[in-house]
Structures are given as structure tokens and as C-alpha cells.
């Protein structure tokens, strides 16, 4: 068991190293970064002070040197929490991303919990009441839920909320709480703003997971041990929840690795539409402005989240399914 964990951990680190090279390569590939713009802007100002600044910048980021040196300079800063500098926002990347990453994670994990919390009971109901009206309704909603792009759903929910609930949509806080110290009122205000993105991000995954859950449970219900349990006179409720559902859960845990990237992608795009200060809008802007250190760091951080997520899913799986532990 320990060996498995160690092997996975080493593999995780190798993956992240390759991802860091890849994301740097993607971002450093096109000519004309925000850094070179900054330098040419400084050059146009002229003067001795700026000359020194330019030299310092070139030295710090290895501008005239090879691609690999630039990468080395960037990645070696990671050990002491230096992720580079944003030349469009004039702020170190580190201070830019942490709070945003936290909110992104909060939204993604919140959405994941909602998706699981809804899809398991819905899937079970759908599978045990096959071809009934609620089952058909759930199936139709699933299809449409998967078909609606997140940004569109966000727009529609926002418009409906603004029209019919009079909700103040977009952003994290109402204007009067924007700079106010934390209080109960501010907290409830935050919740009032967070439910829309949470619902929107969770919707697609809920639809998809319900489908997975329904199919899994239908498979398991055909097994002989379920029939045996029924023949023994175990109550139907116990057959379903104790015997069948437990065994159909583990593909759901396995999909954690695929659901999480979907949620992170969804979170990014929904935040752009809803104007939330998360990682998504920052990524798009930094990519459009070729602010390479911001974009590279974000890509690497998001990949790290996924790799860690997959690792956790694997561990969880060995916890809930003894067969896997024995198999190893």
C-alpha cells in the first residue's frame, strides 16, 4: 500500500515537471510578450535609470538567452514562492493568484459536492423507477443539461434571477459590502451571490453524473447477489441502499478524476460571464495580453490541482473498495 502511494507520488511529480515545461513552451512560443512590451516601453523613455532597469529585467528573466534558461529562471523561483511578475497588472504573480485560486477551488469543490449530493439520489430514483414519468423527465433534463454550454446557462440564470428575483447578480458582493469588514450581513450577501455560479457550474456535471449513476445501478441490480438478497426477504429499501448502491458508487469515485477538470473549466468560463474574481478571467486576460508568467503559473497550478485530485480519487477508491487493495 505504501509502495503504491510512493510510486503514485513520484509519478505525480514527474507529470507536473513535464506539464510545467509544456505550459511554458506554449506560452513562450509566440513572439511579443508583455515583458518585451514593457522593455520597449522603457526603451522609448530612455535615460540612465531605465537603462539600468532594462538590464535588470533582462538579467532577471533571461530575455536574450535561450528558451531553456528562461524556463530555468522561472521555475527556480518556485522554491521560494516567486512565480514571476505580471507586467500588465504590475504585481507579483504570487499575490495575484492565491486568493483567486482559493475562490476557484471553493466554487469547484462546492459544485462537486452539489453534483454528487443531487446525482446519487436522482440516479437511484431514476434507476429504480425506470420508464416512469419522473424518470423520463430526469432523462430529458439530463440531455439538455449536458447540451447547454456553461456560459449560456450562466447568462440565462443571471437574466432570470435579475428579472424575477430582483437579485443583484454578478460579482461577489453587493456594492455596499465591497469594502466593508467581515460581518454576518456581508457573509449572507456573499452567499446570495455565490448560489448562481454554484448552481451553474454544478448543473452540467450533475446531469452527467446522474446518467452514470443510473446506468451503474441498473447494471448492479441485474447481479445475482441482489436477487439473492431479495429472495432472502431483505427489504427492498435495504437491497437498494445497502447492497446495490454501495457497489455502484465506485465508478462515481473513479470519475472524480474526469469530473474535476470539467468543473474547473466550467468554473473558469462561468466566472468570466459572472465577473467573479477567480482564476478564469485572470487566465483569459493574461493570455490575451501575453502576460506569460501569469498564464504559465495558472496553467501549472490548475494542472497540479487535477493531478492531486486524481491522486486523491485513487486513494479514496482503495478505501471504499477492498478488492482494489487486495488486487495490488
Amino acid at each position: 500500500m505504501l509502495i503504491v502511494v510512493a510510486r503514485r507520488a513520484v509519478y505525480m511529480i514527474v507529470t507536473l515537471a513535464v506539464v510545467s515545461v509544456l505550459s511554458f513552451a506554449i506560452i513562450a512560443a509566440p513572439p511579443g510578450s508583455a515583458l518585451s512590451q514593457k522593455i520597449s516601453q522603457l526603451q522609448s523613455q530612455g535615460g540612465e535609470v531605465t537603462e539600468a532597469q532594462i538590464a535588470a529585467l533582462k538579467e532577471q528573466y533571461g530575455v536574450d538567452e535561450s528558451w531553456f534558461t528562461q524556463y530555468g529562471k522561472w521555475i527556480s523561483g518556485f522554491w521560494h514562492g516567486d512565480f514571476g511578475f505580471s507586467f500588465t497588472l504590475n504585481e507579483p504573480v504570487g499575490s495575484l493568484i492565491w486568493s483567486r485560486l482559493g475562490l476557484s477551488l471553493l466554487l469547484s469543490i462546492g459544485a462537486l459536492l452539489i453534483a454528487w449530493g443531487l446525482s446519487i439520489p436522482l440516479g437511484v430514483y431514476s434507476a429504480t423507477h425506470r420508464r416512469s414519468l419522473p424518470d423520463n423527465v430526469i432523462t430529458v433534463i439530463q440531455f439538455v443539461g449536458v447540451a447547454i454550454p456553461e456560459f449560456l446557462f450562466a447568462l440565462v440564470v443571471m437574466t432570470l434571477a435579475a428579472n424575477y428575483l430582483g437579485a443583484d447578480v454578478g460579482g461577489l458582493f453587493s456594492s455596499q459590502y465591497e469594502n466593508a469588514p467581515w460581518s454576518w450581513a456581508k457573509f449572507t450577501d456573499l452567499l446570495e451571490h455565490l448560489w448562481i455560479p454554484l448552481v451553474v457550474i454544478a448543473a452540467g456535471s450533475t446531469a452527467w453524473l446522474t446518467r452514470v449513476m443510473r446506468a451503474n445501478l441498473l447494471d448492479v441490480l441485474n447481479n445475482q447477489y441482489v436477487q439473492t438478497a431479495r429472495a432472502k426477504g431483505v427489504s427492498e429499501r435495504k437491497v437498494i441502499w445497502k447492497h446495490a448502491v454501495r457497489n455502484s458508487l465506485h465508478p462515481l469515485v473513479m470519475t472524480f478524476g474526469t469530473t474535476f477538470p470539467v468543473l474547473i473549466s466550467g468554473e473558469a468560463i462561468v466566472s468570466i460571464v459572472l465577473n467573479l474574481p477567480t482564476i478564469g478571467p485572470l487566465l483569459v486576460n493574461s493570455l490575451l495580453n501575453k502576460d506569460m508568467y501569469v498564464a504559465g503559473t495558472i496553467l501549472l497550478m490548475l494542472s497540479a490541482l487535477l493531478v492531486i485530485g486524481n491522486f486523491v480519487a485513487d486513494l479514496l477508491l482503495t478505501v471504499i473498495d477492498p478488492r482494489i487493495r487486495v488486487g495490488e
Partner: protein
């Protein structure tokens, strides 16, 4: 392995001979069984019909549109859809634009006492049907100076209906093309990986795992954002297609590898190998044909995500860019709540996206069920 292949003893009998043999399922060729299964799935069949209609609309876009899709009109900024009334035949109310002197916004007044009749197959702007036949006939037109705006106009006074039809050309093909390229890559790499096993397999699988551990949308964004902003519409179209397929092939390769592995262990492959077939012959003659129906079904299920991806990228301003027209580009006009509340018709292209994606989804599901006709 280099000897000439033996005569194809396992050649299946001509399909027509079996098809005439009767209705017994056992005597029908496999593809007929699949077709039968597929046709039984009413939702999938209905979706196919809807999609065919959408594609026909995309091909006939200029014929169906009363106005050129790129014609700007200052007098019709954000004009609402034209109401069609009945006045001895379908007609529209004549419309006048007035500047509200208090708010300085344009207002439109309809005057239904002077109806303008709709003309079917009337003359309008000139275009080339199928890009070849020059003509100026359109399905529906109205007499000048009136304008028929079936789905309203955007902020530059361009016809949303005409733009949606034109946009369908990009949105409905980029997904298919992207998946086609991705499927080709995925099928080739998946087959190699599943057939040769060993070090090649390990290497490819690690690479696929790596690719799958990158978050899809941010990766798409990063790749699309490094494309130069000033490239031509056509080259951008192909590069976006390539980017969409670069990310999509990995999961396809995975699934196909699994299939190929199970086939490669089967007796007939062993028989072919003993009979002296080369690896290439086994792969192309036995493994790929056998896996092809699964490849098609898996590919179909990948189309919706690709269409949504193109729409999302274009919506965010990194996919297709104006002057190109796609559904995502059209939706990028409706970026905030205020716009959607005021001009809800700008969201009509979104309905088309949802319709097309749902149809592809249902067809993919139908195909997946149909490819296993003995199940």
C-alpha cells in the same frame, strides 16, 4: 512476416446475398442489424432529421436569408424581430425609427395600417448558390425600403437570422472536422498502443495520461490565444479545428486501445498471425474494421463537446474572431445581463447551439446502442 498474404479465406460473403435471405436476424449482415437497431431508436432518428435540416439550412444560407449577413445598417441597430401579420397573405408592419430626445436612444414604431406583403421566391441581393450558380432569388423578401428581420438585428444592424444561418456553416462543421482529425489520431495511436503493447504502449499511455491531466478549457484557451490575431479567417478556422482535435484525441485513443486489446487476444487474430499475415495486414484488415463501429460511435459522442468548445472559445474572444461568423461569435454580442434583458433575440443562436448539441448527443447514444446489435 514478409511473405505474401494468404488468400482471404475469412472474406465475408457478399452482403446482398444474405440481405435477401429473409428477416431472420441471424442471416442479416452486421451493418443491417445496426441500422435496424438505430432506426428503432425514435429519438436518434428524429435527431438525425433535425440535423439534416440544420445542415441544409447552412448550405442554403443565402437563399433563406432576406438580407446579406454582413450588411450593416445604422437605422436598424438592435431592431427587434419583425412581427408578421395577416393582411390578405403574410405581411409585415412598416416600421419607423425615431430618436427619443430625452434618453437619446432609438425607438421603433410599427405602423400596421400600411402592411408590406411578404414575397416568396422574390428578388433580393445577389449571391452564388452553392458558391457556383449566380442568382438573386430568396425564399422570402419584402419590397424596399422595408427590411424583414426574422430574428431581429444586432448592435450594428445586421440581420441575426442571416448571421445565424451563415454561422451554422462554421459551427456545424468545425466540430465534425475537429472530431474527424481527433478520431484519426486517436484511432491510429490507440490501435498501435493496443496492438504492440510493451514499451510503445507504456510510453503512449503515459503521454495520454499527461495530456488528460491538463485542464481542457484552459489548455484550449492557451493554444487558441497564441494564434496571431490578424490571420485570415480560413487559416484560423483550420488551426482552431486542429487545436480542438489535439485535446480530444487522447480519450478516444484510450477507448480504442481497450477495444483493440480485447480483439488482439482473440482466436482469429492468432489464426491470421499463424497464417503469416503481416502486422499491418492484421491491423488494417482485421482490427480496425472490427473496431470501426465503436470508433464511429465514440467519435459521435465527442462531437457535442467540440461544438460547445468552439462556441465557448469564440464567445470568450479567442476562438473564431469577427469578421468570421459562428454561433459563438454571434453570442459574444450578448456578454452581459443588460444586453440580454434588452435585446433577448441576440440569444437565439444559443437555442441553435443547444438544439444541434442535443441532436448529436442523441444520435451518439443511438449509435452506441446500435453498434452492439447482438447485445
Amino acid at each position: 512476416m514478409t511473405t505474401t498474404p494468404p488468400p482471404p479465406v475469412t472474406e465475408p460473403p457478399a452482403p446482398s446475398a444474405l440481405a435477401d435471405a429473409g428477416n431472420g436476424a441471424a442471416t442479416l449482415p452486421q451493418w443491417r442489424l445496426m441500422l435496424r437497431r438505430f432506426l428503432k431508436n425514435r429519438l436518434a432518428v428524429a435527431s438525425s432529421v433535425v440535423l439534416v435540416v440544420l445542415y441544409v439550412c447552412a448550405i442554403l444560407a443565402p437563399f433563406l436569408s432576406p438580407n446579406p449577413y454582413d450588411q450593416q445598417n445604422v437605422d436598424l441597430k438592435n431592431a427587434s424581430p419583425t412581427a408578421v401579420i395577416w393582411s390578405g397573405g403574410p405581411a409585415i408592419c412598416s416600421r419607423e425609427q425615431q430618436l427619443d430626445t430625452e434618453t437619446f436612444t432609438y425607438e421603433y414604431r410599427s405602423d400596421c395600417s400600411k402592411p408590406v406583403p411578404l414575397r416568396f421566391f422574390g428578388k433580393g441581393y445577389e449571391y452564388k448558390l452553392f458558391g457556383l450558380i449566380p442568382t438573386d432569388r430568396h425564399l422570402v423578401t419584402v419590397d424596399k425600403p422595408h427590411t424583414l428581420l426574422i430574428w431581429g438585428a444586432d448592435s450594428a444592424g445586421r440581420d441575426v437570422f442571416a448571421r445565424s444561418m451563415q454561422g451554422a456553416r462554421v459551427s456545424l462543421t468545425i466540430g465534425l472536422l475537429g472530431v474527424a482529425v481527433g478520431t484519426f489520431l486517436g484511432a491510429t495511436i490507440g490501435t498501435i498502443s493496443g496492438y504492440f503493447r510493451g514499451a510503445v504502449d507504456t510510453l503512449l499511455q503515459r503521454f495520454i495520461e499527461l495530456l488528460m491531466s491538463l485542464p481542457t478549457l484552459p489548455l484550449w484557451l492557451a493554444l487558441a490565444a497564441i494564434l496571431p490575431q490578424d490571420m485570415s479567417v480560413t487559416s484560423r478556422y483550420f488551426l482552431i479545428t486542429l487545436i480542438l482535435s489535439l485535446v480530444g484525441w487522447a480519450s478516444l485513443a484510450r477507448q480504442i486501445r481497450g477495444k483493440v486489446m480485447s480483439y488482439a487476444a482473440s482466436d482469429y487474430v492468432a489464426a491470421a498471425r499463424i497464417a503469416g499475415s503481416s502486422s499491418a495486414r492484421i491491423v488494417f484488415r482485421h482490427l480496425i474494421p472490427n473496431a470501426s463501429s465503436h470508433i464511429v460511435a465514440t467519435a459521435m459522442l465527442a462531437v457535442p463537446a467540440t461544438i460547445i468548445a468552439e462556441t465557448s472559445l469564440s464567445f470568450l474572444g479567442v476562438g473564431m474572431l469577427p469578421p468570421a461568423v459562428s454561433w459563438g461569435v454571434l453570442l459574444s454580442d450578448a456578454q452581459n445581463v443588460a444586453t440580454v434583458q434588452q435585446y433577448p433575440w441576440l440569444l437565439i443562436p444559443a437555442a441553435l447551439v443547444v438544439l444541434a448539441v442535443t441532436c448529436f448527443q442523441l444520435i451518439g447514444d443511438g449509435l452506441r446502442d446500435a453498434v452492439d446489435p447482438y447485445g
